[in-house]
């Protein structure tokens, strides 16, 4: 795989200004563990991009770099000064604060004119809780809520930051299928209403196809972009629909090929050269 072809694939966004642009980003841990190898990726404003890969593909590393939690070893990341919020697999709410206070803290740090006083922040937090269908739960403590509810609070907290870009690191990975489905709908609605740019990391292929405008496939060790599927299925989609399943199985096949490469290093070249059937959808 050559660098130009990767460049061609990753700049699929038409008519969109890029919100996040990674240019030949590499990340080395310690002396020689190459987690990311010259990843070039551009995500357009308002785009929902899913990053998909097997273990060790550096998905989370990539998000951490974009979030500024970590610095790339080489290459540049341009977010154009956008506000960035991030959600993790754990809700990461502060247990010593109530649900409302957790959101108010985000409002306070973000500090806009609309929420300068405590009262204004409280009102704004209540609005945000309503957005994630948790009106009236502001006085609860995080541990009093279920896992799915906590993730919605985390989403409300991310929204409180008035972020343009939302980074999500397997946010629904720990939830049951039923809750996950509902949260997919919820996230899709909020993404549309607010025109967010979403970078969504997952290892669940169907989830990626369900949600994404595009699904970016990363190789493992080191992580590089190997495929970039545009998902043009009409929304709202269902995780269990035939179209989603069809594209998901295509992507899964490609993913398995990539995993196989690590089992038999000799096949590496032929696997990487395969043409993805679903790439033109």
């Amino acid at each position: 795989m050559t660098a130009p072809s990767r460049e061609l694939r990753s700049s699929r966004v038409d008519g969109h200004e890029p919100a996040v642009r990674l240019d030949a980003v590499s990340k080395v841990y310690g002396r020689e563990l190459l987690a990311l190898d010259r990843v070039t990726l551009s995500v357009g404003k308002g785009e929902f991009a899913c990053l998909l890969g097997a273990s060790g593909c550096g998905k989370s590393t990539l998000l951490n770099l974009v979030a500024g939690l970590d610095r790339p070893t080489a290459g540049t990341i341009d977010t154009g000064g956008a506000r960035i919020a991030m959600m993790f697999q754990e809700p990461a709410l502060f247990p010593w604060l109530t649900v409302s206070s957790n959101i108010e803290l985000a409002l306070r740090v973000t500090g806009t004119a609309r929420n300068t006083t405590k009262k204004e922040r409280r009102a704004r937090a209540a609005e945000l809780l309503e957005t994630v269908h948790l009106a009236g739960f502001g006085g609860k403590r995080p541990h009093e809520l279920s896992g799915g509810m906590r993730q919605r609070v985390a989403l409300a907290r991310a929204l409180a930051q008035r972020a343009d870009v939302l980074l999500m690191d397997e946010p629904f990975g720990a939830l049951d299928a039923m809750t996950r489905d509902l949260l997919h709908d919820e996230l899709e609605r909020i993404w549309r209403e607010r025109g967010l740019t979403v970078l969504f990391v997952t290892h669940n292929v169907r989830e990626a196809v369900r949600l994404g405008d595009r699904v970016v496939l990363l190789s493992s060790r080191p992580g590089t972009v190997i495929e970039d599927y545009a998902v043009t299925l009409p929304r709202p989609r269902r995780t269990d629909s035939g179209e989603v399943a069809g594209l998901a199985s295509t992507i899964t096949d490609r993913l398995r090929q990539e995993v196989l490469r690590h089992a038999r290093p000799a096949q590496a070249v032929s696997a990487a050269g395969a043409v993805p059937a679903g790439a033109d959808r």
């Binding site: 939690l69 502060f94 247990p95 269908h133 809520l145 279920s146 039923m178």
Partner: protein, 285 residues
């Protein structure tokens, strides 16, 4: 679609929130109190059996009835409360200074790497130093004065408090640090909004341990450093021994024990309240 979704979510939320009602205050107090009461009765019974066995004459080892009678007599005496007041004043003042010192030292050592390398193990070392070993130096430095007692009380308690804070800072869950970072909290703000609150449980157990050390040091100090015209509990204990007043001695010991237990229970209650608020008290499995 949206109304539909919100109803679905509401239904799921209602299913997932099981009604966990806390029992009433009376029931909770009783469930904790009866084992304690039973234990006290058991101890008194064993004590009485030992006395009845005639192992030591009654004027050396009186039975619980005699001692409790003496205790009741003291509880009606103004001198006793004055002694308790003096001792508690020292305890509270000494502990407060220890908390201040522990906080400052703990905060500095937990944040500044060279300080950590230099003093980290020293603080742990100080913790294991028997407080009574400080008294000769304290008496040299401060003569037979209250300052000598307070010096040792602070030295006894501060390392535990500092260590509690350091451990709390060290064990701040990384995910919360990341969350704070994402929110835009940096340095002092991160410390104030994330690291300090996150280290509260550990700090609290440091306080609890610090109190135990402070109380022990204080009793040792009051036995060693007798100041004229200031009756304290420790001094009463010493007096009782000199006068071979066995019931008075044992009654004073009970007072020391009870004060220690009551304060410890206060810390325990604070710890429980914190755990409940944070949801750390979930039963395993």
């Amino acid at each position: 679609m949206t109304a539909d979704l919100s109803q679905h979510l509401a239904g799921l939320d209602a299913l997932e929130l099981s009604g966990k009602e806390r029992r009433g205050v009376a029931a909770r107090v009783w469930s904790r109190a009866w084992p304690m009461i039973a234990a006290i009765f058991l101890v008194f019974a064993i004590w009485e059996v030992v006395v009845l066995s005639g192992w030591r004459p009654e004027y050396v080892l009186p039975g619980p009835i005699t001692v409790l009678g003496e205790l009741g007599h003291r509880l009606g005496d103004g001198d006793f409360y004055q002694a308790v007041a003096v001792t508690m004043r020292r305890a509270i003042f000494g502990f407060a200074v220890a908390v201040l010192v522990g906080l400052v030292v703990g905060a500095a050592v937990s944040r500044v790497r060279p300080l950590r390398a230099a003093f980290g193990s020293l603080i742990t070392g100080l913790q294991t130093m028997p407080s009574i070993a400080w008294f000769p130096l304290a008496i040299l430095l401060f003569k037979l004065s209250e300052s000598a007692i307070l010096f040792v009380v602070v030295l006894g308690a501060a390392p535990s408090i500092a260590n509690g804070l350091i451990a709390g800072v060290d064990y701040t869950p990384p995910i919360l640090l990341r969350a704070g970072h994402i929110l835009g909290l940096r340095r002092l703000a991160l410390y104030r909004h994330v690291i300090l609150p996150a280290s509260l449980p550990s700090f609290l157990s440091g306080l609890k341990q610090g109190w135990a050390f402070a109380w022990r040091s204080l009793m040792a100090g009051e036995l060693l450093v007798i100041i004229a015209h200031q009756t304290s509990i420790g001094e009463q204990l010493d007096n009782a021994r000199e006068l071979s007043d066995a019931p008075g001695l044992l009654a004073t010991m009970i007072v020391i024990l009870v004060i220690g237990i009551v304060v410890d229970m206060c810390f325990g209650a604070a710890d429980n309240a914190l755990r409940r608020r944070w949801g750390l008290d979930q039963p395993v499995g």
